[in-house]
């Protein structure tokens, strides 16, 4: 494709609403054209609780993004998250009919349908069905069975689903602005597109996106998604904890956290920190760090627990990638290392054209990732369109890496 395409990623986060306009050039390189962001309101724990307030923020962010990128935004890729989002792995099997030897597109669709047919609560809908591996007549890990000869086709899928109405509310909120929502993407799925490179995915990596209201994670082993999820705890909780324990307003708690706090108990100096604005009131560094440490440990343990159970932690050759705004918190890397027992690095997006402060900052991993996601989705469309009108199969993205 010689034509360059413009995509827009929108993340309505707990702390900020962020719109990124990106251009994908003919050669596949991404250039960030503009960013609009606005402190968020009406979002709690990653979910919209007050659509009208959110729309106000959205308007602002949108106006800025349009102004800076000089692009009129009509449709966006929307990142969604929230504690209601669950994921699971499931395998589907079909028998390829006898008079037909080669596996064709219809078979792939059918096996996907079967694999997706997992018992999810009635109110849930699918967000992503990500292919992990195909098996043809017992042969393992076939990347692309199309055209292969075989009688039994099996497929492992990673299925991410969430409560339909909650997702629809997010979409509705954006559509009322009005902006069309081209597709919804589970936040860590988007972030992984730019934070993890193919090598990391193949060797095994865990991406933890510690945001304001939620902590989302996605785990890659052998180049495919094996686990993902959302813990509805984030930086907001830490601020809230400090405010509640020290009995100070949230704004001061936030300042304390950012300027003086550390999630790690290492290197704690025994000093008193004056709380700004509260004359004469001080807090011991140790107490502050203890509050933050307790929360950080609990938060990361909640992420670690299911992965530990599935035995995935041992397979993470590339270790852990921390991203998201709260990953900027001092000491959180140390805590993560303690809990997971594997190397941890803080990461933003991989390099692309545009203001480097943008993709290097872990705060923007998800929205930038949405651009990449959109690009990958579009790349496979021409190929897929003949096979499926649905155009919603994302096999290539995760199956083949980049």
């Amino acid at each position: 494709m010689a034509v360059s395409n413009i995509y827009v990623g929108l993340e309505i986060g707990t702390s900020k609403v962020c719109i990124i306009v990106g251009e994908v050039r003919g050669d596949g390189a991404i250039k960030i054209l503009g960013v609009g962001q606005h402190p968020s309101a009406g979002v709690r724990k990653g979910e919209i609780v007050d659509p009208e307030t959110v729309q106000t923020c959205l308007h602002d962010a949108l106006a800025r993004a349009e102004e800076r990128s000089d692009v009129e935004v009509n449709a966006v890729f929307l990142a969604v998250t929230g504690s209601h989002i669950q994921s699971m792995n499931n395998r589907g099997t079909i028998r390829v009919s006898d008079d037909q030897m080669e596996i064709n597109g219809e078979d792939l669709e059918e096996v996907k349908k079967i694999a997706r047919d997992v018992p999810v609560p009635a109110e849930n809908g699918y967000i992503h069905s990500i292919i992990q591996h195909y098996y043809v007549d017992g042969q393992e890990k076939v990347l692309n069975p199309l055209g292969m000869l075989g009688q039994k086709l099996e497929a492992d899928y990673h299925i991410i689903n969430g409560v339909k109405t909650r997702i629809q509310n997010s979409i509705k909120c954006v559509r009322e602005v009005p902006i069309e929502v081209e597709d919804i993407v589970f936040s860590p799925v988007a972030a992984a597109q730019v934070v993890l490179n193919r090598e990391a995915k193949n060797e095994g990596a865990l991406l933890i996106d510690v945001g304001g209201g939620t902590t989302d994670y996605i785990c890659f082993v052998d180049g495919v998604v094996v686990a993902s999820g959302c813990v509805p705890i984030g930086g907001d909780h830490i601020t809230n904890d400090i405010a509640l324990v020290l009995k100070i307003p949230l704004a001061r708690a936030e300042k304390l956290k950012v300027n003086h706090g550390s999630a790690s108990l290492k290197n704690t100096r025994n000093i008193e920190i004056a709380i700004e604005g509260e004359s004469g009131k001080t807090v011991e560094q140790e107490l502050l760090n203890q509050i933050m440490n307790a929360r950080a440990i609990e938060l990361l343990s909640l992420v670690a627990e299911p992965l530990q159970k599935q035995g995935l932690l041992a397979k993470l050759g590339k270790g852990i990638f921390l991203t998201g705004g709260s990953s900027l918190m001092t000491g959180i890397g140390d805590v993560a290392e303690e809990i997971f027992g594997i190397p941890v690095q803080k990461a933003g997006s991989t390099a692309m054209s545009g203001p480097s402060a943008l993709f290097e900052n872990p705060q923007y991993a998800t929205p930038v990732g949405l651009i990449r996601y959109a690009q990958l989705l579009d790349d496979q469309r021409p190929k897929k369109s003949a096979l499926s009108k649905l155009g919603k199969s994302f096999e290539k993205i995760f199956g083949g890496g980049r």
């Binding site: 707990t14 702390s15 900020k16 606005h38 402190p39 968020s40 309101a41 009406g42 979002v43 709690r44 724990k45 919209i48 609780v49 007050d50 659509p51 009208e52 307030t53 729309q55 106000t56 923020c57 308007h59 602002d60 504690s83 109405t165 909650r166 509310n169 909120c173 009322e176 602005v177 009005p178 304001g212 509805p232 705890i233 930086g235 907001d236 909780h237 601020t239 809230n240 904890d241 405010a243 509640l244 324990v245 009995k247 100070i248 307003p249 949230l250 704004a251 001061r252 936030e254 300042k255 950012v258 604005g277 203890q290 509050i291 307790a294 929360r295 440990i297 609990e298 909640l302 705004g325």
Partner: protein, 587 residues
């Protein structure tokens, strides 16, 4: 420096010994009064004046005066205004006694008939002679009542206009549009009465309700101040999730506003938003956005907001304005030719000075008049109105269709949702009420200043993620935004401020003032602002009772519970509520 009384804004304090009186003159006036009594009116005395003793006896108002008891012997006037006038003159002493010692009088009258058209101008004259602030709500007859009555009504309106401080004229023809044609006559008239009674009540509330951003009589006058005009009036009251939207809708639906279309031509629009304790800043913002859609760019918006416990969960929106020009003439229907001749009387605002010169409270009212005509020292409220407008306009564009309520199906508990809306960090609802106070103060201080960009930075920095994220965020690019954000930043100090308010003690505020004024305002303005703020403080004193009640909660909330997550779905893992600080749970 201009010396003036603190009542310069033409406010008549609700607690003043000079009460409020609503006088109904004639049959139509009595009907409106009955309607008011029916809906319950505790703050005003109701007085019915009528010639027809039978009609008078069925009236439910507390005071009644029979007009022309010897002249007409308890009969009506038979539609003759001259008889009505004589009847009123016969009872002049009684009327005078009734209006004396009253702060403000609302007169409602149906013009066109004998008693209304004849007696009302006399009552107005007497009231004016007693130095009472007078607002007249007059209904013009239906066009089918004939040209003669229309003519009588027009003459009477003109006469009333000479005496009244403000005249709000309702056109019965337009009232008729309120109801479906097949509805009974009773309903038609009842609807008309209801609108008028609502208007009176709303006007009273606008002026007397303790306001966070308060609207004074001067605001009312400047909203009504346009020559050759007619009054626009809209009032809406709604409760429930979508109350802000519904209330505006309802207000705009009022026949006088013609679905808000007429607002476009208005030069000044007064909007008051009032609600119970649960009213949020965001709702106010929504209301203003909606209103802004209907208001032209050049229109001055006089904005006020206040809380009134009696409103409970309801939210009320009052829109008062006046328009000039041919549009007014066209839409006046039966009174089409009135507008040329009786323009002044329809204009609502009249030169107030002459009737007052002999009175004791001259100073107050003269300044009021000044305020109405926008004299320099009273520019503060107007400008604050404008800066409000700026804020809300900033947010208004692109709103496409009305943002319909998605809150309903959002989370399980509606209350939760609406509370979660509430931006305040620690204590949700109560603190919110403080925001407007702060915002108002800030605006008073800074509205005229060139933008000082630093405050944004400061505010953003100070507020950090969480205050901003928990705010309905105003466009922080414009000046208005700066003010708001600053106010938000100050939210940290909300608790302290509330304490000051609750002590009814002005000094802590004063202590704050000099630095702000010194940094932002020129000397001349600072004096004015200082005074204006003192005015504000005295109003705050009125609300101190409420503030005291809130204070307890403000102190208690941060200590226990889950802080900002108190209103969200709990996150429970292994039987532990994760919203409670880990540090406290593990201890």
């Amino acid at each position: 420096m201009i010396e003036y009384n603190h009542m310069e804004q033409g406010e008549i304090p609700a607690d003043s010994e000079l009460g409020v009186k609503v006088i109904g003159v004639g049959g139509a006036g009595a009907n409106v009064l009955d309607r008011m009594a029916l809906e319950g009116s505790d703050e005003a005395e109701l007085l019915t004046l009528n010639t027809d003793v039978r009609a008078l006896s069925t009236s439910v108002s507390s005071d009644k005066i029979q007009l022309g008891s010897t002249l007409l012997k308890g009969m009506g006037t038979g539609g003759d205004p001259s008889l009505g006038k004589q009847a009123a003159l016969e009872a002049v002493d009684e009327i005078r006694a009734a209006v004396r010692e009253t702060g403000i009088i609302f007169i409602c009258v149906g013009l066109g008939g004998g008693t209304g058209s004849g007696a009302a101008p006399e009552v107005c004259r007497i009231a004016k002679e007693e130095g009472v602030f007078l607002v007249v709500f007059a209904t013009m007859p239906f066009s089918f009542e004939g040209a003669r009555r229309t003519e009588q009504a027009r003459e009477a309106l003109e006469a009333i206009g000479k005496y009244a401080n403000a005249v709000i004229a309702f056109d019965n023809d337009r009232m008729g549009e309120l109801i479906v044609p097949k509805d009974g006559v009773t309903q038609a008239f009842a609807a008309a009465d209801k609108i008028i009674s609502q208007s009176i009540r709303a006007t009273m509330n606008v002026v007397f309700r303790p306001g966070i951003i308060r609207i004074g009589m001067d605001d009312l006058l400047s909203a009504l101040d346009s020559k050759d005009s007619r009054c626009l009036f809209g009032y809406g009251l709604a409760k429930g999730d979508n109350r802000s939207h519904e209330a505006v809708e309802q207000a705009l639906k009022c026949p006088l506003l013609d679905k808000g279309r007429l607002l476009n031509d208005a030069s000044a629009v007064l909007v008051q938003v009032a609600g119970g304790d649960t009213m949020t800043l965001y709702e106010v913002q929504l209301v203003m956005e909606e209103v802004n859609k209907h208001v032209g760019d050049g229109t001055q918006i006089l904005f006020g907001t206040g809380t009134d416990k009696r409103l409970g969960n309801s939210l009320s929106v009052t829109i008062i304005s006046s328009i000039t020009g041919p549009e007014g003439g066209q839409t006046t229907g039966s009174g089409a030719d009135n507008d040329e001749e009786a323009s002044v009387s329809l204009g609502g605002v009249l030169p107030v000075s002459s009737p007052f010169t002999a009175e004791e409270d001259e100073a107050v009212f003269e300044e009021e008049a000044d305020g109405g005509s926008g004299d320099s020292f009273l520019s503060t409220p107007e400008e604050s109105g404008e800066s409000d407008q700026a804020i809300f306009l900033e947010d208004a564009p692109e709103e496409g269709d009305e943002a319909s309520p998605t809150g309903d199906d959002d989370e399980g508990d509606n209350d939760d949702v609406s509370d979660a809306v509430v931006p305040a960090a620690d204590a949700s609802v109560d603190e919110d009420e403080e925001f407007p106070v702060l915002a108002g103060l800030e605006i008073d201080d800074e509205e005229s200043e060139e933008d000082d960009r630093n405050p944004i930075a400061r505010a953003v920095e100070a507020a950090g993620d969480d205050l901003l994220s928990s705010e309905p965020v105003f466009g922080s690019d414009d000046d208005g935004g700066v003010d708001r954000v600053e106010a938000v930043t100050d939210a940290e100090q909300k608790i302290t401020l509330t304490r000051m308010v609750s002590d009814s003690n002005a000094s802590p505020f004063k202590a704050r003032l000099p630095e702000e004024i010194g940094s932002t305002s020129s000397d001349a303005e600072s004096e004015v602002d200082d005074e204006a703020l003192e005015g504000n403080l005295s109003e705050e004193g009125e609300t101190s009772e409420e503030a005291k009640q809130q204070q307890e909660m403000l102190q208690l909330e941060p200590i226990s519970g889950k802080g900002r997550f108190a209103k969200t779905d709990p996150t429970i893992v292994d039987g532990e509520d994760l919203d409670v600080p880990t540090f406290l749970r593990k201890k």
